[in-house]
């Protein structure tokens, strides 16, 4: 179980205009849960992922995995616990390396590299199998450079590579945002498949309410560093986009800020 206890983070605390990204949040995720997070710009959802990832240090509070404080993890294990995929398709892959080289790098034991050839026979076979399996139009194109691929292909590779290091938690920061709807759907199918195959705990931030309603078992809505709505799996199954917008409107009185991009 992943547990956040009273986690707070304020940026620019010493300045004139401090911004509270996380307002003492407490929340739990069970292992293997697929949770979607929505919220307006600046509501703290990216900070939320960054704190779990270890990129941002919280001001206060604790993060526990299986009851153990993440601060007590050795740094290598801390890094291996969570993998993140970003919005920009160039972030998760090396652009001037080939498809095969990128996949082979992700197959290396973390932090260990020798002077033997990177794409050698046994890896080449595994890479070929992977590309057949991924089915994103890269069969036989293992020597293509990443920068010549489409955004969807790059993002699919990025998700797959993130999962190859065998993390327990997969963090997706609007990973479909830069893709057209067809490609985004294909990428979501891959994401769901990897989640099921590997019993990952997935936290997915999205700006797309259709996506938020369609995928995942649980939905968190954030605003101003707080969680305003926590819709669990039973309620989420019934949920539609208009329902969700209704909920947003009702929460407005409590200070929930609705992003204008959500409103029809």
């Amino acid at each position: 179980m992943l547990e956040l206890c009273e986690v707070g983070k304020t940026f620019g605390r010493d300045g004139d205009a401090p911004v509270t990204a996380l307002d003492n949040i407490s929340v739990r995720f069970s292992v293997g849960e697929f949770c979607v997070i929505v919220g307006n710009n600046g509501c703290g959802k990216s900070t939320f992922l960054n704190i779990i990832d270890g990129v941002v240090k919280p001001d206060c509070g604790r993060i526990l995995w299986d009851g153990k404080d993440l601060n007590t993890f050795p740094s290598v294990e801390r890094k291996r616990l969570a993998a993140k995929v970003h919005q920009n398709p160039s972030d998760g892959t090396a652009q001037t390396l080939t498809v095969a080289e990128n996949l082979a790098l992700a197959m290396l034991p973390p932090g260990r590299a020798g002077l033997r050839k990177l794409v050698r026979k046994e890896r080449a076979e595994r890479i070929e199998k992977t590309l057949n399996d991924l089915d994103i139009g890269l069969i036989g194109r293992e020597n293509a450079m990443i920068q010549n691929l489409s955004g969807g292909q790059r993002q699919a590779l990025a998700v797959y590579m993130a999962v190859l290091s065998d993390p327990r938690i997969l963090l997706l920061d609007e990973h479909t945002a830069a893709l057209d709807p067809d490609r985004a759907e294909g990428l979501m199918e891959l994401t769901i498949r990897l989640w099921k195959d590997r019993s990952l705990t997935v936290l997915m931030v999205t700006h797309d309410l259709d996506e938020a309603v369609k995928y995942g078992q649980r939905l968190l809505c954030m605003s101003q560093g707080r969680i305003y709505l926590d819709i669990d799996s039973e309620a989420k199954k019934q949920l539609t986009v208009p329902d969700l917008l209704d909920l947003f409107k009702r929460k407005r009185r409590e200070g929930f800020v609705v992003d204008s991009s959500f409103l029809p």
Partner: protein
Amino acid sequence: MIGIAEATLLQGFALGLLVLGLAISFRFLDFPDLTVDGSFVLGAATGAHAIRIGIPVIVALLMAVGAGFIAGCCTGLLHSRFRLSKLLSGILMMIALYSVNFRVMGASNLSLLQSRTLPDYFSHAMGFGTIGVIVFFGFSAICAKIVLDLILRSEWGSVLRTVGDNETLATSLGFSTSRMKIIGLGLANSLVALSGTLVSQYQGFADISMGIGMIIVGVASLIIGEAVVQTLPRRLRGSSIVQRRTTAALIGALVYQLIVNVTLRLGIAPTDLKLITALLVIIAVMIGRTREYAFAGIDRY
């Protein structure tokens, strides 16, 4: 006086090692490393001093390479551990090395004319003359390229390229980007130092100011080489980006020296050479622009 062809091959191969080093730092590591002006002289100074006090030539050569490696590591250390910018780290090492080089040599100029150097073995001792030296320099440069190709396509070398391409990815794969940069710059500058000691051994002296402008020579060669290599058929330029870039480094060094030698023979004043170099680089970048994606970032610096 030697002919244009001989001068081009001699200087082209000797400086080809320097351009290979620059390919590592500027291209694969994405680190515009200005240490070069200093580490080139450091190699020459270390080698010359060692030879003059009677250390065997081969050992002197290795000492020069080692000195270059340490200089490169220092630049990497300044950047990754002390958080100085890439440019500042290189500039600081460049000026610091000026003093170090003076200390190593003990004077602003060290003559090697009384000593037996490596090029001497190939030209006089074996009786081949200048051709012997050209073969020796050519062999060294091509060997260095082949070894570099193998290293850069190994697991370690691919991680090094990833550090230059996408640091976040390298970190998330569990690698220390600092360590990769430090060793990568060490490797780059050991090639630069090797080039420096070979040049000084051939010309018969090491000089405190022989490194001035070496970065420009290197970068110009690199860019010209990349423009030339794009026009080659695929079979000749190599299938992977690593081979293309190392091939470009060597070809660029040769083409640049050819142009320099031809212009000098045409009677153009040596002081106008810098202007010509600048024009050449501009033309090479223009050629590179017209061909998309064959070389990413041909004009990044």
